[in-house]
Every structure is written in C-alpha cells, then in structure tokens.
C-alpha cells in the first residue's frame, strides 16, 4: 500500500482558498475543455448583438439619436448580457452539481456555504467574460464598435450588473434547492422579468408611473440610465451609480440569505444527499 507517510494538509485561510479553487476547478475543467460549451456561451449574445447592430445600420441614416450614438443598441445588448451571464453563471454552477448528483460529496467535505458561493461567483465572472467577451470581439470585428468606448464607466456598469446577476442567481439556486430540478426553468427565465423595467433600450421615463416606481428599485435601471447618460450626453451619473451599488448590496444579502435558508431546509429534510436528476 502506497502513501504511508502522514498526509500534509493546508489549514486555515490556505485551506479555504483551495476549497474555493476546487469549485472553480470542477467547473473550469468542464467548460475549458469543451469548445461546444464555449461556443454556446458566446452564441446568444453574439447573434443578438448582430441583430441590433443591423437594426442600427438600418435606422441610423434617418435617426439623429442613432447618428449621435451609433453604439447605443450594441452597448445595451452587451451590457444586458453581463447581467444575464452573471445570473446564469451562478445558477448553472449549482444546477451542474444536481445533474451530477455531486451535492452530497461537496457538502460532506469541509467546503462551507460561503466558500461554495465564492466559487459560484468566480465561475460567474468566467462565464460572463467568455460569453460577453466573444460578443464584444465580434462587435468590434464586424461593426467597429468597441465596448471600451464607454470608457471607465464601463467598469462601474459591468460590476453593478454582474453583482445584480449574482444576487438573482443565488436566489434562484435557493429556489431550485428548495423545489428540486423541476424548477430549473426559473434559472433561465427569471432575468427576463426584469427586462421591461430595466430600460435596456429605452428610458425609464417612457414607462407608466407605477412601473417607473418598480423600475427604480432595480439596479439595472440605474445602470442603463447611466449608460445612456454616457453615450448621449457624455456624463457619468454618480447618483445612479451609488443608488445601484446600494440596491445591489441589499439584493446580494437577500439572495445569499435565500440560498442559506434553502440549505438549512435541505439539511432539515435530508435532501442534500438525494437531490439530482
């Protein structure tokens, strides 16, 4: 029998970092060695971007607004996809464990829920960078639109949308853990409820007043309003930025709490070892 020397182990923070890395490794192996997965991540944002880019080309000659801001729709669709990929990245990382019936193995290891969530969020960044990054590359190659033309505010927009996506993704993970894989569709569809009130392609002012009140409660509405400010007026709205950041903090706490509550429920009802396809 091999391995007779005592095993050496990391402890404390070093062990914690390795557990987060384990979650990244597990999903990184899955994604990075499968070109079909990478293509599928880039496919939807790229095709949507191309449709909006051609619509821009069609409307721009007769539309002063688009003449001033030709990247308006393309920028909007790319940023919307940051939100979508951010949410999906968190939810799918969890759903993959259910498909694999691996949840029991993970949670009888020393992995803690905060470490697992840290892994989910890291995977979300990776998925968003691959999906949106591919679409950004095609936007530049095909239409000469660079997302970086938004300048430094791009970082603020990206971060706020990603964090909002995390909050929804964590809440959806909780819903799926509570209701089972039958609720998987929520993970794919949840974000689209927010599209009308996020003002992705139009100002919030066009919404009915009662819907505007709801819209201003979403960080995404503030981000897209901020994006229009940068593209049309050349100004960055700090007020929108801070409101979005504050809302995100609240939603992130709510999303993580929903997931933690579902985990406690699963421990009470013995579903951690049995959940799967």
């Amino acid at each position: 029998m091999k391995g007779t020397a005592p095993l050496e182990r990391h402890t404390g923070a070093a062990a914690s970092v390795r557990r987060v890395r384990a979650v990244l490794r597990r999903h990184g192996y899955l994604i990075l060695k499968s070109w079909t997965r990478i293509v599928s991540m880039m496919y939807y944002p790229t095709v949507t971007m191309i449709v909006w880019a051609f619509l821009t080309l069609y409307l721009a000659p007769t539309n002063n607004f688009l003449k001033d801001a030709p990247g308006f729709f393309i920028g909007a669709v790319l940023l919307w996809d940051v939100l979508f990929r951010g949410q999906l990245g968190v939810s799918l990382t969890f759903i993959e464990e259910l498909y694999a019936r691996n949840l029991g193995n993970l949670f009888v290891s020393p992995l803690t829920l905060p470490e697992y969530i840290a892994g989910q969020l890291s995977m979300s960044v990776l998925r968003a960078l691959i999906g949106v990054g591919g679409a950004c590359l095609f936007a530049f190659l095909l239409f000469r639109f660079s997302i970086f033309s938004l300048g430094l505010p791009l970082i603020a927009f990206f971060a706020n949308l990603l964090v909002f996506g995390w909050a929804i993704g964590l809440a959806m993970s909780g819903v799926i853990l509570r209701l089972g894989l039958g609720a998987e569709e929520f993970a794919w569809a949840a974000i689209f409820v927010l599209a009308p009130v996020s003002g992705v392609y139009y100002p919030i002012a066009v919404l009915p007043s009662w819907l505007q009140a709801i819209a201003w409660g979403t960080p995404s509405a503030h981000v897209f309003e901020g994006m229009r400010g940068v593209l049309l007026r050349g100004t960055f709205g700090w007020d929108h930025f801070w409101v979005a950041a504050g809302l995100n903090l609240g939603y992130l706490v709510l999303g993580a709490s929903a997931f933690a509550w579902a985990m406690r429920h699963a421990r009470d009802h013995g579903t951690l070892l049995q959940m799967g396809e």
Binding site: M1, R26, A100, L272, L273
Partner: protein, 259 residues
C-alpha cells in the same frame, strides 16, 4: 468504554419527517480503530443515521459526536478528518478520474495532491483509468473511484454506505482487503451500512441492528450468532428484520443456561 475510547457517540438520536419517525432515540458508540456495521432492512434508518453523522441532516432530537465534535454544529472542525461513500451520490461524469480526484484533493486541502492521487490510484487499481471520463466507467470501476475519493484525505473516520454493492466478487474482495489494510495502517474507524452479511462477518468488530428506526440489538457478530442460536449473520439478520428475533435470542439464552 469511556467517551475518549469512542470515535462516534450517538445518544438518544431521533429524526422525524412530520409524523414519520425515521430514527427513534437511538444510542450507540463506535470504538476508535474498529469497524462497526449498521444493519437493518430497507427503511430501517441506516442512511438517515449516517447522514446525521456526516452533518448533512439535522437531528430532531438527541446528540451525535464524531471525534469529540458535535454534529452538525461543529461539522467543519471534523469533516477534514472524515469521508464517506454512498450509492446516493455520484461524481461529475464528464471529468476524468484524475480531475475528479484533483478537485477533492483541493476540497480536503491536501498538499502534494499529485503524489497522493498517484498512491490512491495504485491502491484502488485505477492507474489505467485516471485519464478516462468518470461517466465512461463501468459500475464496478465507478465504485472503486468513489472509494479512492473516500480515502483520498486519509480519514480518521470513514462512513461506508453499501461500499461493495455493485462489485463482482473478485473486485469486492479486493476492496474489502484494501479497507482492512487501510484500517490496519491508519487506525481508521469505520461505520459500515451493508446488506452483505459475509462482508459484515469478515470485517466488523461490532454490529448495530436497526429496525423501524430503533436499535434492536448490538454486539460482536459471533456474539449475535450465538445469542440467536444461528450459524451465520444472514440468519440473524433475517430473524431480526422479520421480527420475533428477540424471542429466539431469549430462547437460545435459556437453552444455553440449562445445558
């Protein structure tokens, strides 16, 4: 037996799901460095008990401690020194065997994971399978990978739920030999839920018999066989699982005392 002699101590442990009592106030202790079988028919409460010991199921009442730490409250102190196998869980199928083991080496914070994976792969006869996706393996090969995962962190306490259920007699025997040698080398404590009575007689120092969520008898396999006046654990199991075994044990004891 003092608590310090025991790796696992269970006291008045219960688990209910609404009106259903899956485990009803069970108490037992597992001595350090021994192998104990948790036996009972389907639905007797074996997996529920193991789940509470692993910290993935919260008891309704009672206490369970593993290596002196109360579960599930202090599970993160003891989980690095535990591991398990169960037919209720699986490993990611698209990852290779090596990738799966590398993920768990990180989860258990192992230094020099490559060396450890190589050693475990050799012990579990997995060297030729390391590059193959887990999903492409046969049921027996997957069981060996699960066992490799279970000993990867060289646990002090190993919970085994049906560890050799899908193995042919040859591979099953090799796995039992491996577990015996592993225990001899490391002093690991094993709690084994099994329906394979030959395995229990061969490997286990003690047996805990469950029926309908309660402990109905316990003792060393030879003691139980003698107490029930039977020749094998298989017969003892049938006596207890079908009920009426207690009367038979009492009868056997009376016969013994009059002879």
């Amino acid at each position: 037996m003092t608590p310090s002699d025991s790796a696992i101590v269970v006291a008045d442990l219960s688990k209910s799901y609404g009106a259903i009592e899956a485990v009803r106030g069970i108490s037992f202790a597992v001595r350090r460095g021994t192998t104990t079988a948790l036996l009972g028919g389907n639905g007797a409460g074996k997996t529920t008990t193991l789940s509470m010991l692993l910290g993935v199921l919260t008891p309704t009442a009672g206490r369970a401690t593993v290596l002196g730490e109360e579960m599930p409250a202090y599970r993160h102190r003891v989980l690095p020194r535990m591991n398990f196998t169960s037919p209720y869980v699986d490993l990611p199928k698209r990852l290779t065997v090596r990738e799966n083991l590398a993920v768990f080496a990180d989860l258990y914070g192992l230094r020099r994971p490559r060396e450890r994976i190589a050693a475990v792969a050799e012990d579990c006869d997995l060297v030729d399978l390391l590059k193959r996706p887990y999903g492409n393996l046969s049921a027996g090969q997957r069981t060996r990978v699960s066992l490799a995962k279970a000993v990867l962190n060289e646990p002090d306490v190993l919970l085994l739920d049906e560890p050799t259920a899908s193995l042919d007699p040859d591979i099953g025997d090799r796995m039992r030999t491996y577990l015996e040698r592993y225990q001899h080398r490391t002093g690991c404590t094993m709690l084994l839920a099994s329906h394979h009575m030959g395995e229990v007689e061969r490997m286990c120092d003690d047996v805990i018999m469950l029926r309908a969520g309660a402990v109905v008898d316990q003792g060393a396999p030879r003691e139980l066989i003698a107490r029930y006046g039977r020749d094998t654990m298989e017969e003892v199991f049938l006596d207890i699982a079908r009920g009426g075994g207690e009367e038979r044990a009492a009868g056997a004891a009376a016969e013994e005392s009059t002879s």
